[in-house]
Amino acid sequence: MAELIVFWVFAPLAVASGIAMLLQRNAVYSALFLVVNFFALAVFFLMLGAEFLFAVQIIVYAGAIMVLFLFVIMLLGVDREERLVEPIRWQRPLGIFLGVGITAEIFAAVRAGVGFAAKAPGGFALVNQGGNAQAIAKVLFTDYFLPFEITSILLIVAAVAAMVLAHRRRGAVSGPPPAGPARPQPDREAEVAG
């Protein structure tokens, strides 16, 4: 029962914040809505018996990745608004049609796969015995050890790649200065004229 309440509070919140993220013109607002979304999903992980993932979700996604997004948005000053008008006229109806189609397909797949009344059989507490983090560690460092190592290599490669890509050589022309929230810039011309 409690889980159902949690679901019906946080699922609409997650979907609404996801949609709000898409419809926002201001990139900073989009990022903030995505943070709300990640929090809602973290609560979902908690509900589904994944405490460790709850913490990882907040630390990595909300705490690091989204701050990185905000950092780039603020640094580039790309939070000025963006046109949301669709240039191709038939694309939107087609998209809606295909979306409905996929929804129907998912319904069919779920029905054929697990059935609408499928419930977790319970007893997941047994898997989580001794703590969820410990259970994950046990599997991660035995069965999934090679993927784990490969992931660490991937992260190092990504870090080096990001540095190589974004590194600016000394003496290169610096970009425009960071910019705050979208605001009118009234005095440019006046200054030039004056």
Partner: protein
């Protein structure tokens, strides 16, 4: 216990939202954010199925997805910064040339 299809539909809706964002938004940063949304929807599925089949492997997989997503964001944002430096804009529609 929550019924599994509820969670599945929920994550499907989230995933589709992400797909729409990738296709419709022109801001490069927002495209990356939509990809994050899609990955998260997948994570919800993985964790839900992990509970359903009583195997912790699903959660481990979700952990890998998060790690890979972190790497992807790092590189993606570096590319966005590079594009911005070259074109003074991060509109992905304008990045249609392979060379300039």
């Amino acid at each position: 216990m929550i019924r599994l299809p509820l969670v599945l539909f929920f994550s499907a809706v989230l995933f589709s939202t992400g797909v729409y964002g990738v296709l419709a938004r022109r801001n490069g940063v927002l495209v990356l954010m939509s990809i994050e949304l899609m990955l998260n929807a997948v994570n919800v599925n993985l964790v839900a199925f992990s509970q359903y089949v009583r195997d912790i492997g699903g959660q481990v997989f979700a952990l890998f997805v998060i790690a890979v997503a972190a790497a992807e964001v790092g590189i993606g944002l570096a590319i966005v910064i590079l594009i911005f430096r070259n074109r003074e804009s991060i509109n992905v529609d304008e990045v249609s040339l392979l060379k300039w």
